[in-house]
């Protein structure tokens, strides 16, 4: 921290009225498979500095990974701030007591050979599931990182983390029939616990791509859509946009002016839970050093809160919710979203008189207009609660507002995604457009 103290002092000596330095250091080991074979092993380290300065009420930001010239970068940040504009809401947060979340760093560190073994298990298990499985790429990574934040206002925080991340992606091929591209993966804190799931994920991937062979389109209809956890992850990306206080204040979000009002079906309850011990998405503090906290966002369909950082909180005269993402173009963002369950997955499928399950959504949700349109990937046509066939050439369309309003169930079962364990969500009254009838 001595280094950061010197840099903060330098910024103030150069004319900053407030200064914040963030230093991120990481060491990673990665094994990468491509084309069903071992491609590369990687081992390296790096450090990155983020320098945020306020000069009066003008803000500037510089990032650099060059420790040798970091003092020049500090001076540049002050110079940039002076060239910027006055804004009364610019400013760094005051320090608060931070209770550290437990279990974000595990002492075990695998060797490259152990990482290769895990990656090989991932690929070989998937390929052994069925000869039609073709792996495009797979990767296993271990990373150890440390973040330090120090500011002239008195924020002084450090967090060490370890993370394990793996994925596998590819398709199934049977003659001229190529299935939908699919992927699966997981992330965790501890090496042994996280890679313990590699074989299960490999089998899940193999099953998903093989069962997507022989896909047919469906007839146009209005019906149910059973969104997989990966599809729910995409929907949460849109909610992240709408819930951001910055987008509300910049008049880009349709959630503006709707605090305390219904924005979704009463089935939907969404919280941000960044303080669960032992999860890679958990965080003790945000990108500005403000402590994180559990936050109710939507309760029984009613909007309860926006996501704030220090800037947006000052503008709205509220307390920061601890969602600053940090960096030069900070936009408040979710940490670890959780949806409250309402039903068993089997019961949800049983509710579907006619519709599709959506394994992946290859499309687009326009967060401004709310228009939702995309192709169902790896999905199944379901009639009277039973799976009929895999689907291709089938699109869903509607508006995000109507999707939120038509949520009828959230599953108790969850599956890992890249932002946490997420459930299935069942939506009624979706427009399903197929190329031909079935």
């Amino acid at each position: 921290m001595k280094e950061l103290e010197r840099l903060v002092a330098l910024a103030c000596a150069e004319g900053a009225t407030e200064a914040e330095i963030t230093r991120s250091r990481s060491h990673r080991k990665t094994v990468f498979f491509e084309k069903n074979a071992l491609k590369s092993l990687k081992s390296d380290s790096g450090a990155q500095y983020g320098i945020r300065v306020i000069a009066g009420t003008r803000a500037g930001y510089v990032s650099s990974n060059d420790a040798a010239s970091i003092r020049d970068s500090v001076k540049e940040a002050v110079s940039i701030a002076r060239a910027s504009e006055e804004d009364p809401y610019n400013g760094l947060p005051a320090p608060e007591d931070v209770t550290m979340v437990d279990g974000l760093s595990d002492s075990g560190e695998p060797s490259l050979a152990e990482i290769e073994e895990a990656a090989r298990s991932l690929v070989e298990t998937a390929r052994a599931y069925d000869s039609r499985v073709s792996v495009d790429s797979a990767s296993v990574e271990f990373r150890r990182s440390a973040v330090n934040i120090l500011s002239s206002k008195g924020v002084s925080l450090s967090q060490e983390r370890s993370s394990v991340f793996y994925f596998i992606m590819g398709m199934a091929i049977e003659g001229s029939d190529i299935s939908s591209f699919d992927y699966t993966g997981d992330a965790g804190v501890g090496w042994r616990k996280t890679v313990g799931g590699v074989k299960d994920h490999a089998l899940r991937f193999g099953r998903a791509v093989v069962e997507s062979l022989g896909a047919k389109p469906v007839a146009r209809c209005r019906g149910y859509a059973l969104m997989s956890p990966d599809t729910v992850e995409e929907m949460l990306s849109t909610l992240d946009f709408l819930l951001s206080a910055k987008n509300v204040q910049e008049r880009r979000s349709s959630f503006a002016g709707k605090l305390g009002r219904p924005v979704a079906s009463e089935v939907l309850t969404l919280k941000d839970e960044p303080r669960i011990p032992g999860l890679p998405w958990s965080a003790s503090f945000d990108g500005e050093g403000v402590p994180t906290r559990a936050l109710a966002l939507i309760e029984a369909g009613v909007l309860k809160s926006y996501l704030h950082d220090t800037y947006t909180a000052r503008k709205d005269k509220v307390r920061s919710t601890g969602h600053a993402s940090g960096g030069g173009t900070s936009n408040p963002s979710l940490h670890a979203p959780i949806l409250a369950p309402t039903a068993d997955l089997a019961a949800m499928q049983g509710m579907m008189d006619k519709g599709v399950s959506v394994r992946r959504f290859s499309g687009n949700i326009n967060p401004v207009s709310g228009v939702f349109s995309g192709v169902v990937k790896g999905g199944r046509y379901i009639e009277r609660g039973k799976i009929v066939h895999p689907v291709t050439g089938t699109m869903l369309s509607g508006t995000f507002e109507s999707i939120l309003a038509n949520i009828v169930a959230v599953s108790k079962e969850t599956e890992p995604t890249f932002i946490g364990a997420l459930p299935y969500v069942l939506v009624k009254d979706m427009d399903i457009v197929g190329e031909t009838g079935s």
């Binding site: 081992s43 790096g46 510089v62 940039i80 173009t329 207009s369 457009v433």
Partner: protein
């Protein structure tokens, strides 16, 4: 630095690639009357890759000293040696090594433009959009620049210095009327200098374009879904060329089993279709995908992908070119010094034909005129794609008429190209803003002429 890299490569047996890369970036963003972002970044270091017994070992360092770079080299060698399951064989790579100094042409290099001038540009355009008022409720303008300096030295003989400069510009307007909100965007990307960014659109024309797109979509209907005749503007032709076709012909993807595997020499599109991936583009030398040296130190070449409907070739790096026994097209690219090179596109475009755009529209009884990429989209290994469209209008009895909104297009790209019955004699690269993603970002561009074809439109029942 060049001397350090050359000495280390010379002292190391086997295949070695060393790449020093320094990137200086600037981002300016104005939103609703204020400069909300003014930030600069510096990212520099050396990436080292060695090939041993069928496996790559990689490491990197941000320390410029010979000691630390040598340490990174040892770490890369150790990483490769740690592999238990490589093929066991060394491979002779097909290389055309670049030697010398390579610098992108730049009219008024942006490094010499004062910060105040860049700020003034962003402020002026944002203010003009905001002053339209009426249904315009939110405006934002962003400018980003990226200046790269690379030194690439390899055991295959590459010894190159490469200076690149790329820019991005976006103007977004949101219009609202009651509960309805729509946005309009103008996006530009370029390689070169300050004068290249606005080579096709004058800065003073940007505000009107962005706000008009947003305002015209308010109240516009969503079309009925189903198959339709469409005329695609070059912006969407480029998207199709890059996303739906281009990724399937990247050789690493071909080896994993993409739909074009084993199809060289086969007819995959209509006879009017010819598609290339080009490190330069005579028709637009400022394309955002311009590449003078790839990140394995190879001199990149134009790759003919489809020629009059027949699949002719894939996109290669040194390793896949050797595997397929073909010339290396120089498509290996790494976004930063910490990334390993992977096969990426550059400027991907359809070649122009002979039809005029006017004749194309006049001869369309019923259909859609589609332009600009919207908010997202994806394509698959089997060339199935889906894209959101930024601007859509009906074509009725040979005339472009009403605006539509919420339009998406989908299909199987090769089937769509087989349905093309008219190819325009115009040309535009118009996909240079933003990044392509494939494990890591890359600046690319894409385009071509207008084309008329059939595809699936997503919409209402």
């Amino acid at each position: 630095m060049r001397t350090i890299l050359k000495e280390l490569v010379a002292d190391t047996p086997g295949v070695v690639q060393m790449r020093y890369h320094r990137r200086k970036s600037l981002v300016i963003r104005a939103e609703n009357g204020r400069i909300s972002t003014l930030s600069s970044s510096l990212l520099s270091g050396t990436g080292v890759r060695v090939h041993r017994a069928g496996v790559w070992g990689f490491s990197s360092t941000s320390d410029m000293s010979r000691k630390k770079i040598a340490e990174a080299l040892r770490e890369a060698i150790a990483a490769a040696a740690a592999a238990r399951g490589g093929s066991g064989a060394d491979v002779r790579f097909a290389c055309d090594p670049a030697t010398g100094v390579f610098t992108v042409a730049a009219e008024r290099p942006f490094s010499r433009i004062p910060l105040e001038e860049k700020l003034a540009l962003v402020r002026t355009i944002e203010e003009k959009m905001r002053r339209v008022g009426g249904t315009i409720v939110s405006t934002s303008v962003s400018y980003a620049e990226m200046e790269d300096e690379k030194i690439i030295v390899t055991s295959d003989g590459a010894d190159a210095e490469y200076r690149d400069a790329k820019m991005d510009f976006r103007a977004n307007a949101v219009a609202a009327d009651g509960n309805e909100m729509e946005f309009g965007t103008v996006m530009l990307g370029a390689t070169g200098g300050w004068g290249d960014l606005f080579r096709r659109v004058r800065p003073e024309d940007v505000p009107e374009r962005a706000v008009r797109k947003a305002m015209d979509k308010l109240g516009a209907p969503v079309p009925a879904g189903g198959m339709s005749t469409v005329i695609l503007h070059p912006s969407l032709v480029g998207l199709l060329a890059h996303e739906a076709i281009g990724h399937t012909v990247e050789a690493d993807f071909v080896l994993a089993g993409s739909i074009v595997k084993d199809k060289i020499g086969e007819k995959v599109a209509g006879e009017k279709i010819s598609l290339v991936d080009d490190p330069l583009c005579d028709r637009d030398p400022s394309g955002a995908g311009v590449l003078l040296v790839d990140d394995e130190g190879t001199r990149p070449k134009k790759a003919v992908i489809i020629e009059r409907g027949v699949l002719r070739g894939f996109l290669h790096d040194a390793e896949t070119a050797a595997h397929f026994h073909v010339e290396n097209t120089g498509n290996a690219r790494a976004f930063t010094y910490r990334d390993e090179p992977v096969i990426r596109m550059r400027n991907t475009y359809l070649l122009p034909g002979e039809d005029t755009v006017e004749a194309m529209i006049a001869s369309t009884e019923n259909g859609l005129y589609l332009k600009d990429f919207g908010m997202g989209g994806q394509a698959d290994a089997n060339a199935e794609f889906m894209f959101d469209v930024g601007e859509a209008r009906k074509i009725e009895h040979g005339k472009i008429t009403a605006m539509l909104k919420g339009v998406t297009i989908s299909g199987q790209a090769f089937e769509v190209l087989s349905s093309v019955d008219m190819v325009g004699n115009d040309f535009l690269l118009d996909s240079g803003a933003g990044y392509c993603g494939k494990h890591q970002p890359a600046k690319v561009d894409a385009g071509g002429p207008h084309i008329r074809c059939r595809m699936m439109i997503g919409g209402k029942l």
